[in-house]
Amino acid sequence: MRILGPVTDIPLGEGRTYEVDGEMVAVFRLRDGSVRALSAVCPHRGGPLADGQIDNKVLVCPLHLMAFDITTGCSLSGISDLTVYPVTVDADGHLVISSLTASEVPS
C-alpha cells in the first residue's frame, strides 16, 4: 500500500502523474467522484496521458487523440491496452494505491 497524497491534489476531471515502485502511473479524478489509475504513457507514441481529457468512461490522449476505456484500460482505437492499477481514497481523503510489485506477484 502506498499513499500518494490528498485526492484534492488532482482537480476534478483531470489527471496527475505519480511514480509508484518505479512505474509511472496516471491517476484521474472523475467528475462522479471516483478515481482511476492507469499506466501514464500512451502506447501509441508515448503521449503523457495525465494531460489527456476524460469523461466518466473514456480517456483521450492529448497527442493523437487515441481513446481508452478509463476503467478497463482497453484501447478504443485499436492499439495496445493500458495497465490498470487498483486505487482508492481512504477515510482521510488520501489516494491509496496498492504496491504494484506486490499485486504482480501472486502470493
Binding site: 504513457v41 496521458l49 476524460i54
Partner: protein
Amino acid sequence: MAPRLVVIGNGMAGARTVEEILSRGGDFDITMFGDEPYGNYNRIMLSNVLAGVEDESGIFLNDLSWYADNGITLHAGRRISRIDRFAKQVYAEDGTATPYDKLIIATGSRAFVPPIPGIHRPGRGYHQGVFAFRTLDDTRSMIRYAREHERAVVIGGGLLGLEAARGLQNHVSQVTLLHAMGHLMNTQLDAQAGAILQRSVEKLGIEVVCDAMTTEILGKHAVTGVKLSDGRVIDCDVVVVAAGIRANTEVAAASGLVVERGIVVDDQMRAQDEPDIYVVGECAQHRGETYGLVAPLWDQAKVLADHLTGRDPQAAYHGSRIATKLKVAGVDVASMGLKESDREDDETLVFSEPRKGIYKSVIIRDGRLVGATLVGDVKKVAFLMQAFDRGLALPEDRVELMFDLGGPPAEVSAAELADDAQVCNCNGVTKGTIAETVHGGCKTVSGVMDRTRAGKGCGTCKSLVAQIVEWAAGGAVEEDPKASWYVPGVPMPKPELMAAIRKYDLRSVSSVFAKLVPGGEEDAKSKMGLASLLKMMWGDRYIDERDARFINDRVHANIQRDGTFSVVPQMKGGVTTPAQLRRIAEVAEKHAVPMVKLTGGQRIDLLGIPKETLPKIWADLDMPSGYAYGKSFRTVKTCVGSDFCRFGVGDSTALGIALEERYQGIEGPGKMKLAVTGCPRNCAEAYVKDLGVVAIDGGRWELYVGGAAGAHVRKGDLLATVESPEEVITLTGRFLQYYRESANWLERTYAWVPRLGIEHIRAVVVDDAEGIAADLDAAMAASVAAYRDPWKERAEPATPGQFRTSLPLVVLPQVPVR
C-alpha cells in the same frame, strides 16, 4: 472450364454488373477492359472532388485488389477498338485479341463538345484552358489549371454545368455560367422554377447568362474569353464544357451492332439479334430511351445478372422512372417525371415563394403522381419519389404532398417504405439491404453507410438512411454523432445549443452535459468545443472548469510530440524591438531552450520547454501570450507598408498592431489568422487569411474574408472596401463575431464563408440586413473587455499541480541494446 465473360468498359455500369454477377455466385472467367487507367470509381462524386469536399481516394468503389481477389483480369488503360461477332473475339487498340463466350458492352458516354470555333486546336485536342467534365483525369487537369487562373466560364446550365460552376468557385474567383436555353435545367424544370433556381445560383456568386449562344472561343495560345452571338465578349481563362453527353457507340456500330442514339437492346439487355452480346449503362438504348443517370443502370445490372447467371433467365427490364437531384451545396433541386402538365384533366399544384428561393409543383393524373419539382426545399422528396416510382395512392389532402402538416413522423414513413424501395439512388441501395445490415449487427448510421455505400453518393438521401437505420434498429441505434451537432456528445446543432444554453442559463461545461444530454452523460471529446462556445457566450460570467480545457489551454502553450511545450510570445503585427529581442535571447540562454525559431506567423517560437518551466519562462519574458496554441485569434501578419516601402499606400503595420491589440486572444470555433498588407502586392499574404486587409490607392482598404493557405488553399472573398482604418477595425470585429456565433466547431472561415455565401455574410456584416450588427458589435466588445493575458497565471497556478510534469519522472525500461 467456366464460360469466358468479357466486359468492355470499367465504369459504373460495367463494374456494377460484375458485382451483381459475383453476388449471385455466377461462375465466369471474367476479363474487363477499361479505357481509364484506374479501378472503378464513383463518377458522380467528381462534382464533390471538384468542389473540394471529397478526396480522390474517397471516390474509388473497387480498387485493384478487388479485381485480384475476385479472380477478374482487369486491363485498365486498354481500349477496345473492334468486336468480331463471328469469331467471338474483341480486339484491343494494341491489336491483342481476347475471346469471349458472353460479352457485355458498358462503354458509357462522353462529353458532348459543340463545334464552336476555337474550342479545339488543330491536331492537339482542346484549346489550352478548355475542359470537359466526365472523367477523373478531366477533373484533375481542370483543378490544376483553374487553381492558377482567375475567371471561368461554364457552357451548359444543366445539372452537370451547375455542379461544375459551383465546384470551380472553389478554385477561381469568378465563374460565369452560359446556358443556351431560356432557363436553367430546362430539361427538368419549367420556366418559373428555372428562374427561381437562377436567383439562388446567382446568390452563390455565380453569374448566369441564359439564351447565351457561344459563337467563338477566343485566345491565341490559351483561352482569353468567349464570344456570344450578340457580340458580347466574356473574358475568362478557363472554359468548361458541360453541354450534354453522347453515348459511346462507335465500336459497336463499327462492329455491325444496331445503333441508334445508343446500342439497341431488348428487355434482357441483349443487343438486337445478338445471342451473346449484352449492353448496360448509358450506352444502351432500351425501348427508345437512353439514360444519363445511375439509377437506371442499377436496375439494368440486376436484370442482366439474373439473366446471365441463370438465377432468373426470364428477368426483364421495363425501363426506369428517373428522378434527378442537384448536388450543389446551398441550392436544393429535385425533380421527377413531367415538368409541366400536358393534359387538361391533370391536377396541378404549384407553390412558389421566390423571395426565399422556394418553388414546388406536383402533377397528378388519375390519382397518381406523374411529376414533381422541388426547388429550395426538398424535405418531401423521399415521399414523392416513392409515390412516383410505385404509383402509390396519394393523400386526400393534396397539400400534404408539398408540406408536412403535422403529418406522420419520420419513423413511420421509414416503416412504410417497401423493402425493395431504392433509398440511395447513387449507389443503388434498397431499404431491405439497409435493414439487413442493421440486423446483421451494424447499428450506427455511419457504419451502415460505410458497409452499404448508401448515402455515399450525392449525399441527399442521408437523412432517409438514418431514419431507416433507426427504424430497423428498433430504437437501438448506437451513438452516431450526427454531422449537424456542434459537438459529438450533445445532440444539437449550434443554434439550438446556444438557445438552450441561454434558456437554462448554463454557464459551465458540466451543466451543459447535465441538462442537455439525455442521461447527463459527459463526453471527453466534446468538452473543448463546449468550453470555447460558453466562453464566447458568457465572457466574464463563464464558469471555467479546467478539465473542460484541452491541455494547451490549461497551460497556455502548445504540447509537442515529446510532451514538452512551445512558447510563442505576442509580437503584434510582427513588429519587435531590440529590447524585446534581447530579452528573448536572454531567456532562451538562461533556460537552455533547445530551439529558437521564427514562425510562419511572424514571431518567435521557443520550443521544447518542459511544462514545469513554463511559469518561469513567462515571468522572465514578461511578454503577453501570443496564443499560438488555441482555437482563437492568432496573429496579424503585416508588411512594412507606407512608412518604409516605396509602394505602400497604407500604414499596414499600424493597422495590424491595432487589430491585434483589440482582438488578441479571442476564442472561436477555429483559429483566426489575419494580415494587413500595404498595397495589392500583398507581401503579408492578406488574400489567403481568415481576414485580410489590403490598402489600395486613395486611402481605402479592402477586406478579404475566408482565405486560406494551409491544408486548404483558397483566395478570400472581397467583403467590403472602406475608407478608414476605424471602419476596418469595426467590420473585422463584427465579421469575427458573426463567425464565432454561427460557424461549426473547428470550421475555419475558408469553409464557413463559402457555406453561408459571401453575399449573405456581406448583407449581415456590412449592410446589417438582419438588424443584428449592433448586437454583434456589443458581444465582441464584451469579449474584448473580458480579455486577460493567460500568462499572468504564472504567479499562482489556477489548479493544484497545473504545471506538474506528466512525463516519465523515472527512466523507463529501455529496449535492450544488443
